[in-house]
């Protein structure tokens, strides 16, 4: 699906050995068995997927190395002309977006007045949120105002989205406008 051409990677020398390394990284198999026997080269068998940095707006390319269901390394995408394989401290660290202990892995619910989170399943969350949205919306919906059709609710807000993908932003804008939300804002404003 994705063609990754790592030929801009900085190699020490363009020898046969290098070409072999390239093959290792590209095809995901290790030709250097002797080395693998003692301590396997960290990214020898990893799968490489290109992504774009999730932080600032520069848009640097990053390669994500995954192996055994985890992220083993992240580095600049040498093919991306924006950063040519270079990264800042944040971009270099995106590996820990996956590996950080702090990631929330289950939906959490906090009841009114409660002082703690309770784990819930997705189904319950979706259903309950949908209900809340409908309740609020139905109660506050304004169909017409001064003889104009306005079809809005001013009691629901949506904030954020500057880190979402375009496709997500599109669906979010579509959904919110579809609901009649006027308080629609994101980080461009702040």
């Amino acid at each position: 699906m994705v063609e990754i051409n790592l030929n801009r990677r900085q190699f020490l020398k363009l020898s046969g050995a290098t070409a072999a390394t390239l093959a290792v990284v590209e095809l995901g198999f290790d030709t250097k068995k002797a080395h693998a026997a003692t301590k396997e080269f960290k990214i020898a068998k990893s799968t490489v997927t290109p992504t774009i940095c999730c932080f600032c707006g520069v848009g640097c390319g990053i390669l994500v190395h995954t192996k055994d269901n985890t992220v083993v390394y992240t580095e600049g995408d040498p093919d991306n002309p924006i950063n040519e394989g270079k990264l800042c401290s944040k971009g270099t660290t995106i590996r820990q977006l996956y590996t950080s202990e702090k990631r929330v892995k289950k939906p959490l619910y906090r009841a009114p007045g409660s002082n703690k989170w309770v784990e819930k399943d997705w189904e319950w969350m979706y259903e309950t949120i949908a209900k809340r949205v409908k309740e609020t919306r139905d109660k506050t919906f304004v169909a017409t105002e001064n003889g104009l059709t306005v079809n809005k609710t001013e009691a629901i807000a949506s904030l954020g989205g500057a880190a979402l993908d375009n496709e997500e932003c599109y669906l979010l804008a579509k959904m919110m406008r579809g609901l009649g939300v006027t308080y629609l804002e994101h980080q461009a404003r702040i």
Binding site: R9, Q10, F11, L12, K13, S15, A17, T18, T21, V24, K32, H35, K39, F41, K42, Y73, T74, E75, G76, N83, G85, K86, L87, C88, S89, G91, T92, T93, R95
Partner: protein, 276 residues
């Protein structure tokens, strides 16, 4: 050794982004170790067992009275004549074909001799806990990503450096580049210099510094400590010889004693027997 490689660090191109610090941790799977507030942007006072390179931030009033905000990627220098290698009692530290100096954790016993003899103070001991809950120590420092070099890749810090402050390549070419760079920047940094100290036989991390080494807390003329030279080049071999010689003398004495005793005494050890 085919080509000798060095890491060339031009601190005047560095903008202090610290990608090198995280790239190192990322590649080498090193844990974080947050420190107390140091009063500047700097995160660690110096390199540690889990932080193999530290970016220094120095506010320096230059000779013209202006303010320079200086940065330096500090890590192991990979000396040609490495004090750590010299003092290691277990031969756990060795030179690689790339000129890098690496510690073999299989051999390292955590004695800390290297830690205390490194003229740049870049080696640290780390305490580990084994399966039985027992603690043990190993010396740690930058490896120059020798594992990457072996695979034909450059060190992780160099790969990520975006300003071109770090390069990895042929030693002669890099040194030439460094010298030319110093000429270029003399106007802005009159004290600029190439730092490739000969006291340790030159290093495999060669710097262009904007200021005198002391501004960066670096020794002006680092050497393998004299004590280490005397110790390893003289005391240790002589000591081993002495032990050998003494042992030989004892053995010799024992044998001669036996021989003479047999000749002179019917039964030897006349003095001791009765006083058992």
């Amino acid at each position: 050794m085919a080509t000798e490689y060095v890491k060339f660090v031009d601190v005047t191109k560095c903008d202090g982004c610290r990608a090198c610090m995280v790239a190192c941790k990322n590649w080498n799977d090193l844990p974080a170790e947050p420190q107390d507030f140091l009063g500047s942007a700097q995160s660690h006072v110096k390199t540690t067992a889990d932080t193999w390179n530290v970016l220094q931030y120095i506010e320096h009033e230059n000779s013209k009275g202006g303010l320079d905000y200086l940065f330096r990627h500090s890590a192991c220098f990979h000396c040609t004549d490495a004090a750590c290698e010299k003092v290691c009692p277990e031969n756990a530290i060795s030179y690689t074909e790339f000129g890098t100096v690496v510690i073999d954790h299989e051999k390292c016993v955590g004695c800390g001799y290297c830690v205390n003899n490194c003229p740049f103070e870049v080696i640290s001991l780390k305490e580990y806990v084994d399966k039985n809950g027992d603690k043990y120590r190993k010396a740690n420092k930058c490896t120059m990503c020798t594992d990457r070099l072996e695979e034909g890749l450059q060190p992780a810090c160099v790969t990520t450096c975006h300003t071109g402050a770090m390069e990895f390549g042929d030693k002669a070419a890099m040194i030439k580049k460094a010298e030319e760079r110093v000429k270029q920047i003399k106007d802005r940094y009159p004290n600029a210099m190439v730092y490739n100290p000969q006291g340790v036989g030159g290093t495999h991390t060669v710097y262009v510094l904007a200021e005198k080494p002391s501004v960066y807390g670096l020794p002006e003329n680092p050497k393998v400590p004299t004590s280490a030279v005397v110790w390893k080049d003289y005391a240790q071999p002589i000591g081993k010889m002495m032990i050998g010689a003494t042992t030989m003398a004892v053995v010799g004495a024992f044998i001669t004693n036996k021989i003479f005793s047999k000749k002179t005494n019917g039964h030897d050890e006349d003095g001791g027997e009765s006083h058992e």
